[in-house]
């Protein structure tokens, strides 16, 4: 199977896993990355399709119990909104992370490495350490985010600059991918909070996020 045909198959059904497709993907990193991007996009399409624009609620009913149905619908809608709010905090978190990064567009322009002392200072404030060498970090700031100072780093990778925000006070129940405002990102749970990584465009950050989960050490005595 060629890359072209593989991408056609993936674009038509990102969830597909035909044997021939999988065989090609095993030997083709670019197509694997394409599939990850399309799966992220598809997850967002599914979320978007849950509610059409300007969807106003209950359908028209003509039955005599219409007032009760209307009341029940309103109650259900309120419960649904509450459930969405309670069960999907990371969506809001993702939005906040994207908004924060958009407010600091210069962070991705820096190319010069930040000295180890500055990085340590930023990390120490949040009670974390990094296990990888600091020569890949081109931006390190302690940023006010959701009522706490958090490390905001930019790491230079083969895929370009990637933002890392170490969120000690933001717990998430599981890994969550997002795509917003032209940025792709992943939020992963960590022992004492979560880690958000994001980059511009459709970069696949799954492996990088996993690596960060392993590389960030949470110091027990902090905060």
């Amino acid at each position: 199977m060629s890359c072209e045909h593989t991408r056609l198959q993936i674009g038509a059904d990102p969830a597909g896993s035909a044997a021939e497709l999988e065989e090609h993907l095993r030997g083709c990193a670019a197509c694997r990355e394409f599939r990850e991007e399309m799966r992220t996009l598809d997850a967002n399409i599914r979320r978007a399709l849950e509610r059409p624009p300007e969807w106003a609620g209950a359908p028209r009913l003509t039955a005599p119990w219409r007032p009760w149905a209307l009341a029940a619908s309103v109650l259900l809608a309120m419960l649904a909104v509450l459930s969405v709010w309670l069960l999907r905090p990371s969506d809001t978190l993702a939005h906040e992370v994207v908004a924060h990064v958009r407010e600091e567009p210069d962070s991705w322009l820096a190319r010069q490495q930040v000295d180890a002392h500055s990085i340590d200072e930023v990390l120490r404030g949040a009670g974390v350490k990094l296990d990888f060498t600091s020569d890949r970090i081109s931006y390190a700031q302690s940023c006010w985010f959701q009522d706490h100072y958090v490390p905001h780093l930019v790491v230079q990778t083969a895929q370009g600059p990637v933002t890392v925000m170490i969120l000690r006070n933001q717990r998430v129940s599981g890994r969550r991918s997002f795509h917003e405002s032209g940025m792709t990102g992943v939020i992963v749970p960590a022992p004492q909070g979560s880690i958000a990584v994001l980059a511009r465009g459709g970069v696949n950050l799954q492996t990088f996020a996993t690596q960060m989960q392993q590389d960030v050490r949470w110091l027990p005595d902090a905060q």
């Binding site: 674009g11 399409i45 399709l49 300007e54 039955a63 795509h179 940025m183």
Partner: protein, 191 residues
């Protein structure tokens, strides 16, 4: 005057539910799917009022031919198919009005797309997809139809369906700021 004969599954539902009428469970089954049908119709018709009319008409059609539904497990796909066909009929009747809706959506989405890339933009981008791309995408994602099932429903070849699904996602991909994949899809062909 349309539909003078059959009983509405909606208007007499309470009477049916209160008795031992075997049709009551069928009514209940249809009603349980109404939200899904409305959502599907809304994405197809891009208008809530039209969607409600389509679903109402579809449920009446379904009620008239309920005896043809042998497997209740297939009810959802069956009803979605009826909704799609009802929309197609309406689309043919109201083509000119729907074209003007396209223009309205274009304006709204263009204004919003410039400022953010959230679900709002994605929703409007889906709404703006041409019907030939939007319809198979909805059948696949909301309806759970396979490529072959979509091909049968739309009387297209499987290759044509693959192409349309690929192009639909590729258009959304571009709108979301990702690099669109080269359009390498084969030319469409009807069976």
């Amino acid at each position: 005057m349309r539909n003078p004969q059959p009983e509405s599954p909606v208007s007499s539902i309470s009477e049916r539910l209160s008795g031992a009428d075997p049709r009551a469970s069928m009514t209940q089954l249809f009603e349980s799917m109404r939200p899904d049908l409305l959502r599907f119709a809304h994405w197809l018709a891009r208008d809530r009022s039209l969607a409600e009319d389509i679903v109402q008409e579809s449920l009446l059609r379904a009620w008239r031919s309920r005896d043809t539904l042998k497997d209740r497990g297939a009810a959802r796909a069956w009803l979605l198919t009826i909704v799609r066909r009802e929309h197609a009929r309406l689309y043919e009747r109201k083509r000119l009005e729907l074209v003007s809706l396209d223009e309205a959506l274009d304006t709204q989405a263009a204004e919003k797309a410039a400022s953010d890339g959230d679900l709002f933009t994605l929703r409007h981008a889906i709404m703006r997809l041409p019907i030939e791309y939007r319809e198979p995408l909805l059948l696949q994602i909301l309806g759970g139809f396979s490529t072959e099932e979509i091909a049968r429903e739309l009387t297209l070849s499987s290759t044509a369906v693959l192409t349309r699904l690929f192009r639909a996602r590729n258009k959304l991909r571009a709108i979301c700021g990702m690099t669109p994949a080269p359009d390498v899809s084969a030319s469409e062909a009807t069976p």
